[in-house]
Symmetry: C3
Subunit: 345 residues, 3 copies
């Protein structure tokens, strides 16, 4: 596949951007401000990188109106330069076209229905009752268990596991190592037995993933215990995220790497959950709640807004002194006569 | 497999529960209080969901004595309604029966011993010296390395990796993506070299998993450096947990998702480790220690009980003000004349 | 392969150690102080285990000069006993020799170049444009995507996924479940659409891993968005680590399990990142920065040294009282007349 060679004028027209410079300039690729060469288009969206603009050797730059005057190269002025760049960069993606059809090494149960326009790569294992819709792509080593559905144009990049009763919408992208539909962590404790022990609570539900979701590498989404675990449309999960049974995540919410959501929690729409953040079970988060990285949510958050927990990073010697004092903070507060506070944080 | 259709009377008798209502009522399935229909059995165990009882359309409900009077439907009264429900729900699980035998695509070394009653699915790769006992099930894409043993009735659901010298007990359940027996993180630093650098410490031990354990999706359990990493019987690990080399976990302990235990730590029996919690290396936790979610254990915990670290979730603006003060907490404490505290938290 | 049977004298000579005892003593294996038998060699490096020395039944012990007098057995005195032990233990590793050649079940694209001295195991899937160098070993179920390179003597233990444009140096060791080269988490928010939503930012870069790196089980390293994600040589990553797009990690740095590094962060050389620690995006860490376990780095750390965040583990009842006070810490500080502090932690 030959990469495209649009001109700057083509890009301005196609994406509705204001061109300052030579419309005939050919653009051969995209790159960072620091790394771009003369034929390449760079972008400036994060003010952190503004200082790199003057020295950039990019042929052209996508940026906001406020930075255009400082740009040493041609530029495309955008209301939202990051979004404009994302769209332009998509022209330069070189993803090998998946060939429709089923690789001879794949193991397909007789009762599976694979659309003729779908692509199934080497060593896929597909069970009875599966439906793979038109244009869906299953990369190598995918496992699709009983009664799963993969919607049109969705892509299981490679080594994705869908256990059973997992319904994937359209245009969903799932990265390697993701496991959807494994059993939730349901345990009942038999305290009256001679040797008290755990008994497994059967996990009987499925997983429903809406259209246009993205699910990162090695992320896990458990099946519901009863009923389903649900991601509404346009939910975006980064790598190594854990979504427990019966969680419900509203449309357009995004969770960064290593976040974890415990069972039956309900996250609203347009929420942003920072990397490594945790949300305890059975809680509700309102729409447009932001949780900063590595914070732990221990009660429901009823109002939109940004929430945090934790303490600031410090040189270890200082931190040790402060942390030692934290152990006696209630005593310190009492000493200065602060009113007793609720003991429930 | 036709699902069973027991009556309420059957269930009461089988599980030793007190029936209030029509013993002839057929039960066609299990569901939540909110989702159950007329033929279905729901349960009430968590008081959080008590308000759903009055409006439930369930045909019958498993609940405790204290809630029975409020139940609008027939009910089964149990001393432990969650445990009773778990046992009843198991009747309604529809797990495809694994057919004994070895899938033709599997790659089995000549020196592996697979019981005739075991089941090995597509694309499994089994090395020399492996023993797979009666009734064990290896789902698709499992890798079982040299000298591993899979005990009777154990199930490697799919895509499970056992590297080498991994001994799995009976009735163990391991979910997709789990990796047992990878090398521990053992490094020695050569500080006297011209360019100081790491050298790998050989990892020579194995992993021993007792009977009735469950291991979640994408969880990792490293082999011992010398000697074995050990899970006693009935240990329950959720998804994405990291167990480092030579960790020892006592019987009946349960770890929630994303917990991590560093090398040579020793966890007692009946411990509960919350999601995302961390336990540093070479520590000991007594029996019946509970660690709350995302807490970090930095010293041994010699007494049973519940332990925590961290700060409460707050709106970000408030949190920022408080966190900024934490950086100077020792100074604040000194100012009010609090006695100097140990600098070792 | 018969394990070697060196004498204590052989080991002293080979590794430049001082022998106290019988040079003719045969050493049949290595073990812990507590577990070693009469023919085995143990070591004492961590003072935590000093009390085990007197009772050890080891045939010989590697230890430092300070402990030699207390040793009840023969000993090898080393300036760095852990390093010396690591080197000796390597003699006793029994790793099956990988047979050069390609397993018949592997799926190799015609345009892949596999060195005749490389080994490719069952069910590997190798794409066009791949180069696998001399002595490289790909264990079962590895996926190597377009234009990847696996350097000489490197080992993908099993079930490793390299997506595309991933360049692995020489003598690199990658454990099962690791995913290198999946898309980074790049999203642009289209706020002007009728229903505001996310758009994917194309991820166009690769991953470069230097010589002598080690990458743990289920660890993920995303491809760069533009340009590459880079690990310099001798970088050591434990299990379940998340490295986001365009991160750069300097030579000889080591990250413990479950650590996570957000996009475009830059970590210096000889850094040590504790388990579960997080580093936010676009930050820089100087050489020789140590971050303790589960700390969150929210700003660049310009100077070498040890850094921490968090609070100490406490019995839950005490912790609750202190944590409740943390919510009002700014108020407490004001009350005693402490100067207002920056609101930015």
């Amino acid at each position: 596949m030959t990469p495209p060679q649009p001109t700057l004028g083509d890009l301005a027209e196609r994406f509705g951007l204001v061109l300052r410079g030579d419309p005939a300039r050919p653009i051969t690729g995209v790159a960072t401000l620091a790394g771009a060469g003369a034929g390449e288009l760079a972008f400036l969206a994060n003010p952190r990188y503004r200082a790199q603009l003057a020295g950039s050797r990019a042929g052209a730059v996508v940026l906001g109106e406020a930075d255009a005057a400082e740009c040493p190269a041609d530029c495309l002025v955008a209301a939202d330069p990051y979004l404009a760049f994302a769209r332009i960069a998509a022209l330069f993606e070189r993803r090998p076209a998946a060939v429709p059809g089923i690789h001879p090494s794949a193991d397909i149960a007789p009762g599976a229905r694979i659309s003729p326009g779908a692509s199934v790569a080497a060593f896929c294992s597909i069970a009875d009752g599966v439906v793979v819709e038109e244009g869906a792509v299953l990369g190598p080593h995918c496992i699709v268990g009983p009664r799963c559905r993969v919607g049109a144009q969705s892509r299981l990049v490679a080594r994705v596991t869908l256990m059973q009763d997992v319904a994937i919408g359209k245009r969903v992208l799932i990265h390697p190592g993701a496991v959807l539909g494994a059993d939730g962590f349901g345990l009942a404790f038999d305290r009256s037995a001679d040797e008290p022990h755990w008994e497994k609570v059967p996990q009987l539900g499925g997983v429903v993933v809406g259209d246009d979701c993205e699910i990162g590498a090695n992320t896990t989404i458990d099946r519901g215990a009863l009923g389903d675990t649900v991601l509404e449309h346009d939910v975006r999960l980064d790598n190594q995220i854990q979504i427990a049974h019966n969680v419900h995540i509203g449309a357009h919410s995004a969770l960064a790497g290593c976040a974890a959501v415990a069972g039956s929690a309900r996250i609203g729409r347009y929420c942003l959950i920072g990397g490594g953040a945790g949300i305890l079970g059975h809680l509700s988060l309102a729409d447009r709640v932001t949780v900063t990285a590595m914070s732990l949510v221990t009660h429901s958050l009823r109002e939109a807004g940004e929430y945090s927990s934790g303490t600031p990073i410090q040189p270890n010697r200082q931190w040790r002194r402060n942390a030692a004092r934290f152990r006696h903070l209630d005593e310190i507060a009492r000493r200065i006569g602060a009113a007793p506070k609720e003991s429930e944080p």
